[in-house]
């Protein structure tokens, strides 16, 4: 019994220490974003003595964070919609059509999980330039949709395969077309898996920095990640502003995570543990 208690104590000790290591930087970030410069240096870990929103206001208006937010939401939402639509259509065909061709296509799709699309960047830049899409949000969306296909087909095909065939046969006997079956049977049943795929891709797309860095210079098409990198450089000596910019970039996902942590964990680990 004593031994049992000791091991429980040790568990709490280790997990508490690590939790502090995780929470300390997040606390430091958020609390100092409300402090004036002098306060940040004099009192880096305590509550602010002079509460200020200056950094946020400057970043939002002068730094054009309003625009970067809008762009990021637009790119993320459009890409997600297309990923879910294309991914579930393809997954239905891959799950129900058993042949050597579809087996090959399935492997072809999921091979993309192991090969980062970044390696094709040089050619993508040429392509986007030829399509006249550089500096527009539509240079990002097709790449993100392509990037989402491996995980979408992987998770969704496995999920559809688990739906008993009798359900489809019954609908077919009633004269339902494949499209009808897809819309009325598959999509409603697929909802939890769609959520997993959506969260996985949402985090990847929202946080992506590489493609905006390569494709976009123009201010009107900048995303949050690109905005953060530019403003951070600009505000590097003004810590209140720099920390405000970082908080603004981190807090939306953090709030969503606090509300949906279970789904987030499931979503992000979907590549390894089947959704």
């Amino acid at each position: 019994m004593r031994h049992f208690k000791f091991s429980k104590l040790l568990t709490y000790f280790i997990l508490t220490v690590w939790s502090l290591i995780v929470l300390f930087p997040i606390w430091t970030l958020i609390i100092n974003s409300f402090k004036v410069q002098k306060d940040i240096f004099a009192n880096p870990f305590g509550l602010p003595t002079h509460f200020t929103l200056n950094g946020y206001i400057t970043a939002w208006t002068q730094g054009r964070f309003d625009l970067y937010f809008y762009n990021t939401i637009y790119v993320t939402a459009t890409s997600l919609l297309l990923i879910l639509l294309f991914g579930s259509l393809a997954a239905y065909a891959l799950a129900k059509w058993k042949s050597r061709v579809t087996k090959f296509l399935y492997i072809f799709f999921i091979a993309g999980m192991m090969i980062p699309i970044r390696l094709g960047t040089i050619d993508l830049v040429r392509m986007m330039k030829a399509l006249n899409l550089l500096n527009t949000l539509w240079s990002l969306i097709p790449v993100y949709v392509a990037m989402g296909m491996p995980i979408a087909t992987f998770v969704l095909t496995a999920f559809i395969e688990d739906i008993p065939n009798e359900m489809f046969d019954a609908a077919r006997v009633d004269g339902a077309s494949e499209w009808n079956i897809f819309v009325t049977i598959v999509i409603p049943l697929l909802r939890p898996a769609l959520a997993t795929v959506a969260i996985f891709n949402m985090i990847k797309i929202w946080n992506d920095f590489w493609f905006p860095l390569v494709f976009i210079r123009a201010q009107q098409s900048r995303t949050i990640a690109l905005g953060v990198s530019l403003l951070f450089g600009q505000y590097q000596t003004d810590w209140n502003k720099a920390l405000s910019v970082l908080s603004m970039a981190a807090v939306p996902m953090l709030v969503l995570y606090v509300m949906l942590s279970r789904e987030f964990i499931k979503g992000l680990t979907a590549g390894a543990v089947k959704g």
Binding site: L85, L119, E178, F209
Partner: protein
């Protein structure tokens, strides 16, 4: 009036009727499935597979900017391996990427296994700990990198203040300015962010271990420690394989964390330059002194990363999937 028309057939237009009379139900279904596959396949082929393959092809050309001008065979690779201009940078980046990977494997994945082993039993607050451990993985790598840059900054010295408080002031270093410690410090930052991933994967694996097996060992007098290493861990090998291969793929194209904490030139003195930052500088942004991207060498670096990934992933398929064909 109507003879034997079922409601469904009445609405058919002649074209549809003809189509149905020529193709049987199976063929029609396959046509629809092909249409279902088309959008996903098209976007995947055009924006992922084709650029990747074409980038491999471009490694055989030379050219400044984005235009391939001349076919040069393997000259770009020969330059990368032997030309003093590239050789040092390339092998430096390979070495640093391996070190980056090694630190993730030892620190991040060992901690992940430890946390998973602790979180598998149920106790009060378990879900909260789980959520906290995973939280940084939802952040942007860039934000995490910038945040730690500020915290490690000696002029603010949040970390140094803490070291002072616990009496280890002599440990304080210019964390990101010292070529000996910059890469380990950046790797640990990245491990701090991503430790939740292996934790959750190992946890999912541990939950799947049948309790009877562990119970049987305990009855035979095995301690908690032996039960874990002798019974649970061997069953976890497939997960160890997945964790290793995911860490490998992520680390060999890591870019954002270096960009945020050391800049694209991998300061100080290229000591934190990884393969992806080298690829970016040479192939996309343009390396000093010309300032123009060298497409051929850039594509050659991408090809080398691709080959390294292929070798690693094949090794994983060979070792782990053969061992446990029923799993994964």
């Amino acid at each position: 009036m109507a003879l034997v028309a079922t409601p469904g057939e009445k609405k058919l237009n002649p074209a549809k009727k003809l189509y149905r009379s020529i193709f049987n139900q199976e063929t029609r279904r396959k046509t629809i499935w092909l249409l279902f596959l088309f959008p996903a396949l098209a976007v995947y082929l055009v924006f992922m597979a084709a650029p990747l393959i074409d980038s491999l092809r471009l490694s055989l050309y030379t050219g400044v900017g984005l235009t391939p001008t001349k076919f040069v065979g393997l000259q770009n690779f020969i330059d990368l391996f032997t030309n003093p201009l590239w050789r040092g940078l390339f092998f430096g980046a390979v070495l640093h990427t391996c070190e980056f990977f090694a630190i993730h494997m030892t620190v991040q994945n060992t901690l992940g296994l430890l946390f998973a082993a602790l979180l598998v039993s149920s106790f009060r607050g378990r879900d909260t700990f789980r959520a906290i451990i995973f939280a940084p993985a939802t952040f942007s790598v860039l934000v995490v990198g910038f945040l730690w840059t500020l915290i490690l900054n000696p002029s603010w010295g949040a970390v140094d203040i803490i070291l002072n408080k616990i009496g280890l002031s002599s440990w304080a270093l210019p964390w990101l300015g010292d070529a000996r410690v910059a890469l380990p410090v950046i790797s640990l930052t990245s491990a701090w962010q991503w430790v939740g991933m292996p934790t959750m994967m190992f946890l999912a694996g541990l939950v799947g271990v049948p309790e009877e097996l562990v119970e049987a060992a305990r009855v035979d007098g095995a301690s908690e420690w032996t039960a874990f290493w002798k019974i649970k861990f061997p069953l976890l090998m497939p997960v160890v394989g997945i964790v290793a291969v995911i860490t490998f793929v992520d680390n060999f194209n890591a870019f954002d964390v270096i960009f945020a904490m050391a800049g694209v030139r991998g300061t100080p003195n290229y000591s934190t330059d990884l393969l992806a930052t080298l690829f970016y500088r040479v192939g996309i942004a343009g390396e000093q002194p010309s300032g123009l991207p060298n497409m051929g060498i850039g594509a050659a670096i991408a090809t080398m990363i691709f080959l390294i990934l292929m070798i690693g992933v094949s090794l994983w398929l060979f070792v782990f999937r053969r061992q446990t064909p029923s799993q994964v």
